[in-house]
């Protein structure tokens, strides 16, 4: 069956450290993988997109990697800040007009 799994545990980190989130998938062949941020009571907000033929993408303090052999994406937040505290969702795009989301990982950054 198809599965998208993100870190099962919430992530608690100290301000200034790097948070690393994982997204593993089974029985999907995504052309693209996206990462979204969701704050409580709000809808998800798009952060980054990476294509299947790209290994790494960066945007400011965010970095995403994509390994189609391992069927895994890693999402890094460097020099983390309390304002980065949120739930982060990975989403797979198989070019069929829909996104398939993981359950998300909640990140809390302590000052």
């Amino acid at each position: 069956s198809q599965k998208i799994e993100q870190n099962s545990e919430a992530l608690n980190i100290q301000e200034g450290k790097t948070a690393t989130l994982t997204c593993n998938y089974t029985n999907y062949s995504p052309a693209y993988l996206q990462w979204y941020r969701q704050d409580p009571g709000r809808g998800p907000v798009f952060l980054l997109l990476i294509r299947e033929n790209e290994k790494e993408k960066r945007k400011e303090r965010l970095k995403v990697t994509f390994d189609t052999t391992l069927k895994q994406s890693l999402f890094h937040i460097t020099a983390s800040q309390p304002a980065d505290s949120a739930t982060y969702l990975c989403a797979l795009d198989m070019l069929d007009y829909k996104l398939s989301f993981g359950a998300g990982t909640t990140v809390t950054v302590r000052a």
């Binding site: 809808g43 998800p44 795009d93 070019l95």
Partner: protein, 116 residues
Amino acid sequence: DAGVTQSPTHLIKTRGQQVTLRCSPKSGHDTVSWYQQALGQGPQFIFQYYEEEERQRGNFPDRFSGHQFPNYSSELNVNALLLGDSALYLCASSYSLTDLAKNIQYFGAGTRLSVL
């Protein structure tokens, strides 16, 4: 520039009732998708509307139906509500003529539906 707006923000219904949720897409967007998000879960795709037609549908029963109007706004209708329909319903919009690869979704804040 107005983003995606949804109404109402909260709704309480009883089992067996019917509900209609509304969505106005981001200015310039012509495609609307609906997602259901249960507590602690990621959004699950319900369907997508483009040119007033349902273009793609997820694994949801026929009790879930929708509509898109000429101004691109959309409605989600759910009939014969079940307790399990309690969730956050998210509307997302996008622009069809961007690179299909960039299926980036702009989400509204959602409608919280509680079925008692």
